[in-house]
């Protein structure tokens, strides 16, 4: 199950120059966009996050129109459910060394991937707890950047049957899953961790934060411990691929309810975006 097709700067291809700073240093960002029936879901939210992130890294990306065209091209040949993964790097280095070069041209890599959404995603998944910790880094927090070794090490801990593993930082704060954000529900109100010291500001997390008030559901950003998660009325995970995912168990702790999670899931699935 490899990528169905990849475009490098708009041209079908399978390789990138070995001096690309994405490879050399992880110097770039990415987006994982769900495509349903040929439509990229929440495309504007993905592109907005990407552009904000590139600005934060000082990557002079001016090819947003070309990127939209790449995505449209990929979506046009997508199966009924698919993923478009977009990477934008700072481009090739003509010299060695970390410092960004003047005049480097950012590179975009757009790949169309098959995906399968398992039914269990809608009926309650299991989360493990990762031993590997999330670092604390304000300069990079929130960004969906290419420095993802922590996530790789955490994901390597996902056991058979688990949807994902929960990552905590050195202060024992819950950050996220390796590839999802986390919410708890208590007395009908949502809470999810800040992403200002670690973690990724997920697009689906943003959609939930935007939509919850419209459904009359309160929501706050606050630090969560593992106990906050295991003791919650409900827990759900979010990402662009799977949407809102009710959690039935965290480690050994069953989570009893998922009413609000299912309501939010149905609402988000029904959004025409």
């Amino acid at each position: 199950m490899s990528a169905l097709q990849t475009w490098i700067d708009g041209v079908p291809g399978v390789s990138v120059p070995s001096d690309d700073r994405g490879l050399q240093y992880g110097d770039g960002l990415f987006e994982t966009i769900l495509v349903r029936d040929g439509r990229p879901r929440f495309l504007e939210a993905h592109l907005t996050r990407l552009m904000l992130g590139l600005a934060r890294l000082g990557v002079p990306f001016e090819s947003i129109d070309a990127l939209r065209a790449d995505i449209a091209c990929a979506a046009a040949q997508a199966p009924s459910v698919a993923i478009i993964k977009v990477i934008v790097t700072r481009g090739s280095s003509r010299r060695r060394g970390y410092a960004p070069e003047e005049g480097a041209r950012p590179r975009r890599i757009v790949a169309l991937w098959p995906t399968v959404l398992t039914p269990s995603v809608a009926s309650g998944v299991v989360l493990g707890i990762a031993h590997s910790r999330a670092a604390t880094s304000s300069a990079l927090a929130g960004l969906k950047h290419l420095n993802r070794l922590e996530n790789v090490l955490a994901a390597a801990e996902i056991a058979e049957g688990e949807f994902d593993v929960i990552m905590v930082d050195f202060a024992h704060r819950v950050i996220s899953g390796s590839s999802c954000n986390l919410f708890v529900v208590n007395a009908g109100r949502l809470a999810t961790p800040h992403v200002d010291t670690a973690g990724v500001a997920g697009v689906m997390r943003g959609i939930v934060l935007r939509e919850a008030p419209r459904l009359g559901i309160g929501c706050e950003l606050r630090a969560l411990t593992l106990e906050d998660v295991t003791n919650a009325d409900e827990v759900f995970a979010t990402n662009a691929r799977a949407g809102v995912v009710p959690v039935a168990r965290v480690g050994e702790h069953p989570i009893r309810m998922m009413d609000l999670s299912l309501k939010l899931r149905a609402h988000v699935e029904s959004l025409d975006a």
Copy 2:
């Protein structure tokens, strides 16, 4: 001043598959090896660190002999002073997602780069102080991994005339430069930070830690503040390219002496390795 030649898995080439996990996630390690008169300096120290790092990341790399052959091939066509940059990634992913795949074959990328050693490196350099902070991460600390966005952001702060910038963590501890380790000298004794929460265990740092006792110079690993650096008798930076580099000024603070730094520099330069 691009790479003079690159070998991908031993074959001359200029590109890597776009599904390489080094590009997708920064999932790999690298080494920067100085070549002088056709000889890679401190090669065994570089290869030992690389193999230990790959084991720590769980990358099943079994091509050490082929890598040695790549390096010998690059060294044979190197100018009198050059850099061989070695990258080993976890290889290509056939599916999307952070979790490492069973059976993936690590990929090696060996590039020969020109380099110039400026005379000022031997006569005292200037270090700036980076605003961007180093994250704290035990899982990755010490490794020369491909997740180097922090170093990129710090290196972007290097001002004209500065050799490098000092990076500190959120607890105000000095970690390193963006591309060097740091030592202070007080009353004839060396001190350098631990690299167990952040930073890279530099090969030249290791050489200094090994050689100092042989010269009767004491050395300790301990946390350093910026004040410890600016108030030190001497300060020096180390990396594989420039060796031991005496520091003449840190920000606005002149460093008065460099006798021991110069002695260590001369000793390390004279080593037949």
